[in-house]
Symmetry: D3
Subunit: 238 residues, 6 copies
């Protein structure tokens, strides 16, 4: 039995709220249960220096947690003077995941910066971030089309993410904090609307995992992500 009393393949209640704040070109509050993340997309009419004059755009991401988004307060990274390894790992993952579904040449010489800031954490902040960020990115791209800066969308297909893990002996979907802490294996899966993988990151927290466990986890994640992509499409249709 999961601590959350959910079925093995059951997502937490997921809500995706668009236009959450006023200034950003895309602004989404995504909630996976008690995990809540603001994802904003900012359009900048320039590209990083390594891309100057190459005729293509860029999508990048930054991630942060409010100091008291967690059970006990974590130190503010701005006050510490650096981002932790975990933060950098997550923001690199978010950026790669989004770039995988965007035709950067079609985007033109502009950059879309995604900021994912965790208001409240209860496990799965990186997967909620990717899932919400895709919606914010879609809104920013829609704005570029509406304003005539882009003729057609450079987004090839949707992308979303979920965590899976082996809790007890059972593979389960969308781990909350309690389940995540109790898991032997933890896997984050990023998948597109066409069912292909962008990232698969499995980590044995305790016991290494077998090929059979891995297969079961991937099945669970694929089904969960299909549900998330439906929820993204519903949010974008509203």
């Amino acid at each position: 039995m999961r601590p959350s009393h959910r079925q093995p393949g059951e997502l937490r209640p997921v809500t995706i709220t668009r236009r959450y704040t006023r200034h950003a070109e895309g602004s989404v509050l995504v909630a996976f249960g008690d995990t809540k993340v603001i994802c904003t997309a900012s359009v900048e009419e320039s590209v990083p220096s390594f891309l100057k004059g190459k005729g293509q755009g860029w999508v990048t991401a930054e991630y942060g947690m409010l100091p008291r988004s967690t059970h006990s307060r974590i130190k503010r990274e701005a006050a510490q003077g650096k981002q932790s390894g975990r933060t950098q790992e997550i923001q690199r993952l978010i950026g790669r995941s989004l770039r995988a579904v965007v035709d950067l040449t079609m985007l033109g010489e502009r950059q879309i910066v995604i900021d994912c800031d965790v208001l409240q954490a209860d496990g799965g902040t990186r997967t909620a971030s990717i899932t919400g960020a895709f919606v914010a990115l879609s809104d920013a791209v829609a704005g570029l089309i509406a304003s005539g800066k882009l003729a057609t969308s450079p987004i090839r297909e949707p992308v979303a993410a979920v965590s899976v893990g082996v809790f007890g002996d059972t593979p389960v979907l969308d781990l909350d904090y309690l389940e995540d802490s109790g898991c032997e294996t933890d896997m984050n899966v990023v998948m597109t609307g066409s069912g292909r993988f962008v990232e698969v990151q499995g980590t044995a927290e305790g016991q290494p995992f077998s090929r059979e466990e891995m297969d079961a986890l991937l099945d669970l994640a694929s089904a969960g992500i299909r549900e998330l992509i439906t929820l993204q499409q519903q949010a974008l249709a509203r």
Copy 2:
């Protein structure tokens, strides 16, 4: 006429939402019009090293803005590797303002850390932060009393803050971003429930200001803060 069409002495609509996030001992979303700040209070059962063994507690504050809380994206301070002078100035102000109404000896050897994170900025983020932070602090203290860790409250009286400025030739209350940008003089006032000042910070942005203007601004601020303190009390009574 103010850009906001408000009367000179009229506050923006103010809302104070308690228990906004789950983990913090006090968690408040404060809105001054379109300015929205999460203020959390975290209780830590230890004090900074300069107070070890002195038989008193401490209240301190940190402040940050989400990168896209503003019209155009500002760089993330955690990625920059340092907090700006403005950020440090504001967080020092918030900390001093709250300490002014707390009996630190009565608090015991513990620290309350206030985090003010701006979700959306439209002028007055520091005054909204102080006003919301007082409510978060009150909730954290109430929790200490409820759990038997404190017998009586070390909070002596409420404290709140508002900005005032000379717009055109008229002194006006609670400047939004447009008004702030167009002001000759900008003053932030922090005042207690008993009508005494904790901080008065007046700055001539353009023209230096006369003693008469200063007097008018202080009158306006005093009235505005009295309203804010009533709103704090109503929120705390809910």
Copy 3:
């Protein structure tokens, strides 16, 4: 009775020594009693990047304390790898105070950098810095005029600063270290030759202060600053 045996409205002996060091375009040693600060003004024929091509100049300031300017040695900020919040607050204040009396458009596309370095501290380092910095700035501007780079002075009027505070129950002028440590309220006032305020920063160190106390402190500061401006003019006339 003040520890310094001064009358409530009495400044410490103030000396302003011009041409204190050789290389700077303006170089002033200012002493407010035992507080001694070197203020230099450096003219740079370029502006910060945010002003490039805008047809105006800039005045900015940096502040530091020699490690043993104080009773016990403070850590060298260069060795610590960052400037403290207090340092940044002070240098921002000095810069704003000087810009308030300079017509930046008349200055042309150049920058004047003020460096205030405290050789010996005994309270009031920021007010002595502003008072000395104005004289260094004046010398630098005079040099620009003498060399034909400027036709007329962009300085609109003099500016000086002083601290005031409530010591015991008495409002007193120009706090030294002992008085500052014993004060309930501490206010720094920056005022121009025409008697208008550029900055008023009042802080309750212990007890919040009443409107009446504030009024008395402003009266005291105004009189003190008028004296300081006379001393500046005498120094500049030598």
Copy 4:
């Protein structure tokens, strides 16, 4: 055809040289073709502060590249003042991979620090690092046993790592730099002697990958790691 003219499932020539430098408790030069990494294991008789008094040890890793280990010189991270996100990601991966096969309680309150420094890079530096680091760790543990500090080895089983990717349409093993640059998908796999996974990190560089491709890559990686573990055992037996 692979640029390296290897068969799809063929490793590069792998050499593992023990006792490569004098001072470290374990010191290994590992070469995967032209990729050469020094892996040292340093035994420290203390644990990081978060483990003090918990009766267990720790294994951690740091990673670096010599500035000219690469085709064109990369900036020295020590001179830059920080480690890149990539560096942190890799050193966290190495540390987790080794901890997965060590019983930290049996290790006692001591820490083994692994340093992986790349002398020459030609793709696969992180997988070569893990593979070499395991041998250095084994030598350090053997030293603890020889000196009587440990009675039995806390190492549960060997661990090694390899990269796989889809080059053209063919899944291939152990990518060198040229192949890595030309790959659509890149996966790093860390597996134990018993054939269970510790880490699986698959990333779509260009096209997202299908479940079938993933399965083929895992098969290839499993076979490659079995070979690498044999080579580790032969090196340790010398």
Copy 5:
């Protein structure tokens, strides 16, 4: 002919002013011509952690230049966030030079921190710093003896420093900025009262130097330092 019109073996006018500032246990303004440095000695009743419990003291030094001590303004190291390599090299040299004449065991478990801050630079700041620092150190030690904390002085003999160089083809003593810029070879020599060397640092700026030049430079430096030590003793006798 030297630009300064001095004889090859002639020092600039040297002045050593004791008790220059109030708070430090030793405070000296040293001038070598237009080069002016404040040297303070601060006594701290603790030692760095690497010496705790070893029954000996420590002498260390820090060095800085005021931003406008130089012809054109140099960036403030505190604002840059780090000390330059040159700064670190100089402060390490000052510290070693003083430790060479102090019996650290006799000093007891305390530290004397020397701060050398350049008010005005005209070549030879490091040699002026060492020469002045020795006098500040002597005053601090005298204070320890006067207060009964030390019975006898741990200073074994005086130490001073001077620069020498080959200007044109002539070896000259005590280079000012103009001479230093025009020199082929630049040597800093630190010597004790008994005529033994503590540091000799010769650097070919342009042409490498011969053994004969080196011998001539050492002769010149030895004579110069003997003069400086006489000046130190005179200052200490006042």
Copy 6:
């Protein structure tokens, strides 16, 4: 008797291995006994900004030690976020030493960056670095000539370095770690093929040293460097 049982004027076995790694334009492993350093030379077709458009090139150096090159592990500077004062001192020395034998105008507007990374330390890492770096630099220059980018070599003559010290009462050549720790005086000498000095850095670790000792040390160093230059020439001839 020296701990190493060498004669006073006897170098350790020195080996110089060219083309040690693949990518750099010059790559040398130099060993002075158990001290082993990789020296690479990287040619960059641009110069630092302070030399842009001046029609000359630049040679600079960076230095590092692998964390476990030493008896006990030292902290990785990249993880610490800064280079130590010692590191900066050494890399500045290496850079100056090489520039002393290169005609920077003949080099053209390009930069050669030397990286010296210590794989194993046993005293004399800076002198081994300089000696090896000269060979790497020579190979890089030969490459520029071979590719037609340079017509003739800008290298005027060879340069090498060695340490000398007074061990017991005997001046000895090329100190290893044990001897270095036991020395009263330590001197690093950098000399050219024509027997002229580029750098002489003598430091009294314990007792200050006399002029006679200094003379004896310079004699010893000169003879040692002549041997090293012969070894460099032999290596370059292979």
